[in-house]
């Protein structure tokens, strides 16, 4: 096994609101190895975006990292705990964008409307030019522009030399997302985080974007954290899957194990209930009872217990199950497997 580039350990991010505390991320752990695509899947509001914002230290107030460690390893170096770094400090700024790049959930908001997309990438390239010029010589504006055109070409933007001078609002959804990917890749990050990069675009464009990310990952060995609520996309993209629900990891494991032999009742129910193009027309789907609770009305005990068909009386509503091994490389947080392994509530 390689040494992980990123280890998230028992991460907790809470929002202290007047109405109460939203425990958006409440004990999340997972590792990302070099060259691996880790898919984080979960329904809206389960804490996917807050988790990756915490990794980059860009959680908006009143959100705060209240616990856990985020160990990030540069080449051959010892791990730094990002949770300990000053969000505005030089160390964090050197990592953000250059070492860890984010494709945010709202690509429209990620580009400034008053500068061309090319200028924004050229700016980023010059800011983090050490990634391109390790020997320390300066990257001229002309060279940065040329690199940007090349990047545009490599992400499949036609007429790249013209598109560099476009504003983000002049681009179609698919092109904007490609430009966003070009920007994220511009500094050759060790880790790329893609937060629902295809949720707002159509299936045929989605297929193009997914292929692009997959090719990129194969070519450069970039580690990717890929976030989505779409289990189909996860199956096609991820090597390793992390299933989240209400701020906690329900299950994680190799993609084949999660889909072929899911252990956690939530994973099992979700896989059975999603409509797919493969099943016979007009068949009733197995359903999951109830709905996702309000963020301020988090249930006690196992977060899934009010909807769980297998809940154990007297146990699941009282204590929080810990994430424990359930097979080779597979872990689940469920008392069905480890009756006595409870976490801090």
């Amino acid at each position: 096994m390689t040494t992980p580039v990123l280890e998230v350990k028992d991460l907790r991010v809470h929002f202290l609101l007047d109405e109460g505390v939203v425990r958006a991320v409440d004990g999340v752990s997972f590792d990302v190895h070099p060259g691996q695509v880790v898919g984080i899947v979960g329904e809206s509001g389960c804490g996917k975006s807050v988790t990756v914002k915490a990794i980059l230290q860009i959680v908006e107030p009143p959100g705060r990292i209240v616990g856990g460690r985020i160990l990030f390893r540069k080449d051959g170096a010892s791990a730094a705990d990002l949770a300990e770094l000053d969000p505005k400090g030089a160390a964090m700024r050197a990592i953000r964008g250059a070492e860890i790049a984010l494709i945010p959930q709202e690509p429209m908001a990620a580009f400034s409307p008053v500068h061309t997309v090319g200028d924004q990438i050229i700016e980023a390239l010059r800011l983090h030019q050490r990634q391109w010029r390790p020997e320390g010589s300066r990257l001229s504006r002309g060279e940065a522009r040329q690199l940007t055109v090349e990047l545009f070409r490599s992400v499949g933007i036609s007429m790249p030399a013209e598109r560099v001078d476009a504003y983000s609002w002049q681009l179609s959804g698919g092109l904007r997302q490609r430009a966003m990917i070009a920007m994220a890749l511009s500094c050759k990050p060790r880790l790329l985080i893609a937060d629902e990069p295809t949720t707002a675009i159509d299936v045929t464009t989605q297929a193009q974007i997914l292929t692009l990310l997959r090719d990129q990952q194969r070519r450069d060995g970039t580690a990717i954290v890929f976030i989505t609520h779409d289990l189909g996309v996860i199956a096609q993209m991820a090597h390793h899957v992390v299933v989240m629900y209400l701020g906690r990891v329900m299950e994680q494991g190799a993609v084949a194990d999660i889909f072929d032999a899911p252990k956690h009742p939530y994973t099992r129910a979700l896989l059975k209930s999603i409509p797919t193009v493969r099943v016979a027309p007009r068949t009733l789907l197995p359903t999951i009872a109830g709905s996702i609770p309000h963020p301020l009305g988090r249930p006690r005990g196992c977060p899934f217990h009010p909807r769980c068909p297998d809940a154990i009386p007297g146990i699941c509503a009282e204590r929080v199950p810990a994430l424990r091994p359930v097979g080779p490389g597979q872990r689940a947080s469920c008392f069905l497997y480890h009756r006595d392994e409870a976490d801090e509530p």
């Binding site: 409509p275 027309p281 009733l284």
Partner: protein
């Protein structure tokens, strides 16, 4: 189709003007719906699919007469057996027909009045329709809530007390209040959490099966459409490109666009072959569609004829309509 058509849409067109600048000068036309024809039989669910911007919502809104079509006919068989063309009717003429065609919206949060209880939200169309007796309304609302899987005793609460899935059930109960002959549902599950989509899809399917409710079901998600539809119509740049039974569309698609859409859907199975990009390029601009077949710049089977001549929508097998010059000779892969 042996059952008589409840709805018969013929050559429907809706064109929007693109205006620019200070004087709001018309600089172009978007053919949002471009000569669309289809029928829906009584008790049938017709799925309408296609990528965003292809004209699904505009088609639905024309049928609901939330907008006036540019041209074409919308023949509707009313409860009294008369066949009425909704397209040219005035507001006043439409009013008595409104209860017979109802709508389920995409956004379960925006479609209910937050200051009214569930009883008032669901009961309002009944009141508008002349059911003044409160007792009778209470009974009717209770049975509607039961029908849609909600506890009637919750009817005096306000919408904010309900989850997205529950609000969508309330929206469906409201749509059913006047016993409409046709329900138009535009993306009714796409705003819902994945774990509650199945509940609402099952409900719609049960209404079709048990009550023989007729639906026009609009969605961009092919899997969702497959779960509820008897027949499926596929749109591309304002036009129907294929229309057939759900079994035929998914099992033996005959239009290259339909086949490409099916292949692009990621399947929740890591062993399934995936990753081949079925379609290059992007959806054509409806304000400046390509010559000939609108799909030709992206189609892997394009010929000279395709670039030049627009294909007509033709019946290539019983009940299977396709807009493609090469429909007979191509063998396209379905998903079963």
């Amino acid at each position: 189709m042996s059952a008589p058509a409840l709805l018969d849409v013929r050559h429907l067109r809706k064109t929007f003007s693109i205006r620019r600048g200070f004087s709001r000068k018309v600089v172009g036309q978007v053919r949002a719906v471009d000569d669309v024809s289809f029928t829906i039989a009584e008790g049938e669910t017709l799925g309408l699919v296609g990528e965003s911007g292809c004209g699904k919502t505009t088609t639905a809104r024309c049928i609901l007469r939330a907008m006036t079509p540019t041209s074409g006919e919308i023949l509707f068989r009313a409860a009294d057996g008369r066949v009425v063309d909704l397209a040219p009717l005035s507001r006043a003429e439409l009013r008595p027909l409104r209860p017979q065609i109802q709508m389920v919206f995409q956004d379960p949060f925006g479609s209910l009045n937050p200051r009214m209880t569930i009883f008032d939200n669901v009961g309002e169309p009944l009141l508008v329709n002349g059911l003044r007796d409160r007792r009778a309304r209470l009974d009717r609302v209770a049975s509607l809530l039961e029908l849609t899987g909600l506890r009637p005793e919750l009817m005096h609460r306000f919408p904010h007390a309900f989850s997205g899935g529950q609000r969508q059930r309330i929206g469906i109960a409201r749509a059913l209040a006047t016993e409409p002959r046709l329900v138009v549902a535009d993306e009714p599950v796409s705003a819902l959490d994945v774990s509650v989509q199945a509940q609402v899809l099952n409900l719609l399917l049960e209404l079709r099966t048990r009550l023989h409710q007729t639906f026009l079901f609009v969605a961009h998600d092919l899997a969702v459409v497959k779960h509820v539809s008897d027949r499926v119509a596929v749109m591309y740049v304002g036009q129907l490109v294929e229309l057939a039974t759900t079994e035929a569309i998914f099992g033996r698609p005959r239009h290259p666009y339909t086949a490409a859409l099916l292949r692009a859907v990621p399947v929740p199975d890591p062993h399934a072959p995936g990753g081949d990009v079925a379609l290059a390029g992007e959806v054509a601009n409806p304000a400046a569609p390509p010559s000939g077949c609108y799909f030709h710049p992206r189609c892997p089977f394009t010929t000279e004829t395709c670039r030049r001549e627009p294909p007509a929508l033709r019946e290539v097998a019983a009940g299977h309509l396709v807009r493609c010059h090469r429909a007979e000779e191509l063998t396209l892969q379905g998903v079963g």
